[in-house]
Amino acid sequence: MDAQFVYQNLYDLFYMLVFPGLLFLIAFALFAEYVDRKLHARLQHRVGPPWFQPLADVIKLAAKEEMTPRLADRRMFLMAPLVALAATATAFLYIPTWKSDIRYHFEGDLILVLYMLTVPTVTFFLGGWYSRSVYSMIGAARAVMQLFAYEVPLFLCILGPALLANTWSISKMAAFYQVHPAFAALNILGLGVCLVALLGKLERVPFDIPEAETEIVAGSFTEYSGRLLAMLRLTIDLETIVGAALIAAVFLPFGLGLPAAAGFAVYLVKLLAVVCVLTVMRSIMARLRIDQMINLCWKVAAPLGVAQVLIDLVAKGYLPRGYLQ
């Protein structure tokens, strides 16, 4: 084993587990949760939590007793949070940070990331379904119904920009829009739809239907407690950041060429801006019913997604070839 090989592997590990991998992701996700909760509280004329509250919550939950319902399928019940957390953290590795040429990318990583982002919802379904409580089962069914409603607009709106950039790699998309920032303006529609779809993915008001407290207690998460619940909560925090990073990489191609420190700052600001938009949206709306949510997604968001694809196809066909490499 030569030194180069060892160094490479060590760097890989550091990249995946520390920076900008898991540890950074968790730290930033907890900070984003703080920003979200604080802003939400201020918008509601409340004081809001101190900065360390999200971390304290995780520690508190992790220290608590963990219970599995007697009727639950224990293996599925335990696996669900683990798989959800792993999938979300993996997706993050393939999304450009403050530069477009990141360590891990390949032609097709866009599909991998979208798939990895679907995994948590599916595991929430399985975890809820196998906990065998009526609230969990209804929550689980709702989560899947909701998944079918928001995934199509989300995919369409990311497909459009990918078509225009002529690549299936998020890094290359980011690089393309970095070179042609004017093209990013064509994707404004997609940005709006993506933000709405992300609200659905993160199960936030107005789309917190799968965990609607006043109807089904906590939906899929009703029976979870202790470390498993901490893991689920953390997964949703991570999902927020991964979703925000995806939106930033695809739709907000600013500051990618900057030097590391400045680029990093711009990156954080972009992500927090997305988080803040999501917070404002959840502060000013009521929860919809599942039928209203599905109507909205299929009758409004999906056609807008198709429009986004058409816009990008037309742009690709009519704009001078030279622009497209």
Binding site: R46, I138, A212, E215, S283
Partner: protein, 410 residues
């Protein structure tokens, strides 16, 4: 979901949507409600019986604690019934002060309801806003009566505290602030799309059904049933204060919201009018301790609807019988009707829309085992059960109610 087969979902007795224990057993097909079984009886407190054991004056304070929100409603309703039996009347100034407190109570109750309604449809910002503004009226009530709830302002023959000119000025200023905020809520309720989507055409109760099921208060008025005790059978100073009875023809939760917000605006006007025309004079007349034999029925338009108290005196210091019909009992029958063919997601807001107060309504405790027969215990049986239970645990209460006996010699 659940392909054709139905599932039973218990909402209650413990559930985040409910602020008090009560039970709605739903039979769902997918998201759709096929059947709903409402069951009360989790917080019977025996207040009616307890009133018979206490003097009338003690009774006022107990009756006031029937409800933590419409406490003044119950107390005033009881006091009015007793005053009728005794044949005294509170002086005009006292009537006006009672009216002012009553309307302030309506304001705090409706603002509270608005917040709860927001919370039930996941609009927590509305909850935080309206409860923050509710503090203004809570402070006002504390200023006038010394308490935020359970004001203790009533006594037989009048009220216990006067309103000073400084307090009057204070009420005017704070009412202005409340009115501003309420205008804002009117605009939220009529413009916020997601909120309207959750309220419109939900919990429909046709005017005919509202009458047939005996709905009262804002629940009935939102179904075009133009009934308000304040106008139909004036009590306190309501005969002298001009006001509009707010109705809506929406028949749904949205209508109930509009009626309540509209009533808030009316209450501000009524309080201003009452303060401007506050008569001079004493605030109470002397009332006898013993109430002659006789019976009376008090009617009162509480924030949730008509409240009825029946009192029977027997010439002693203690009532012979007190019966309370809280507005929730009149409205709760309509809930099952409102939820016909609706979705699970509508349950919390439809239940909340009658502004239920289950502990005010409960009049019995029913013992049920999970899969066994149910049984109702009457007073004597319950007493016997208690004695038996304690005897099994080594304490004998069976002789307690008898006259004192010397221990038997052994």
């Amino acid at each position: 979901m659940f392909e054709g087969e139905s599932v039973q979902v218990p909402v209650g007795p413990q559930h985040p949507a409910l602020k008090e224990p009560t039970s709605f057993m739903l039979t769902l097909q997918g998201e759709k409600i096929l059947q709903i079984a409402v069951r009360l009886g989790y917080n019977h407190r025996g207040i009616e019986k307890a009133c018979e054991e206490r003097t009338y004056v003690q009774g006022i304070y107990l009756i006031e604690r029937i409800c933590g929100i419409c406490s003044h409603s119950h107390a005033t309703c009881f006091v009015q019934a007793v005053e009728e039996i005794v044949g005294i009347q509170a002086p005009p100034r006292a009537q006006y002060i009672r009216t002012i407190v009553a309307e302030l109570e309506r304001i705090h109750s409706h603002l509270l309801w608005l917040g709860v309604a927001g919370h039930e449809v996941g609009f927590d910002t509305l909850l935080m806003y309206s409860w923050r503004d509710r503090e203004i009226v809570m402070d006002l009530l504390a200023l006038l009566t010394g308490n935020r709830v359970n004001y203790g302002i009533n006594t037989f023959g009048g009220v216990r505290r006067d309103i000073s000119p400084e307090q009057k000025a204070d009420i005017f200023t704070r009412l202005n602030a409340l009115e501003e905020r309420t205008k804002y809520y009117v605009s939220v309720a009529t413009q916020e799309t997601t909120l309207i989507n959750r309220l419109r055409n939900v919990g429909v109760l046709s005017p005919a059904d509202a009458v047939r099921m005996g709905a009262v208060g804002p629940t009935a008025r939102a179904s075009s049933v133009d009934r308000d005790i304040r106008r139909d059978d004036p009590y306190l100073a309501y005969g002298e204060i001009p006001f509009k009875v707010i109705t809506a023809d929406c028949n749904d939760v949205y209508g109930r919201t509009l009626v309540r917000v509209g009533e808030l605006m009316e209450s501000y006007k009524m309080i201003r009018h009452a303060l401007e025309h506050l008569p001079d004079g004493p605030i109470a007349v002397k009332a006898p301790r013993k109430v002659p034999a006789g019976e009376a029925l008090g009617r009162y338009e509480a924030p949730r609807g008509e409240d009825v108290h029946y009192v029977r005196g027997n010439g002693t210091e203690k009532p012979d019988r007190v019966k309370v019909r809280a507005p929730t009992l009149a409205n709760v029958q309509a809930v099952a009707k409102m939820l016909e063919d609706r979705y699970l997601a509508d349950l919390p807001i439809v239940v909340a829309a009658i502004d239920p107060c289950f502990s005010c309504t409960d009049r019995l405790t029913e013992v049920r085992r999970a899969d066994g027969p149910s049984s109702v215990l009457h007073w004597e049986q319950l007493r016997q059960y208690g004695i038996e239970w304690h005897r099994r645990h080594g304490i004998d209460f069976s002789k307690l109610n008898n006259s004192f006996r010397c221990p038997e010699d052994h």
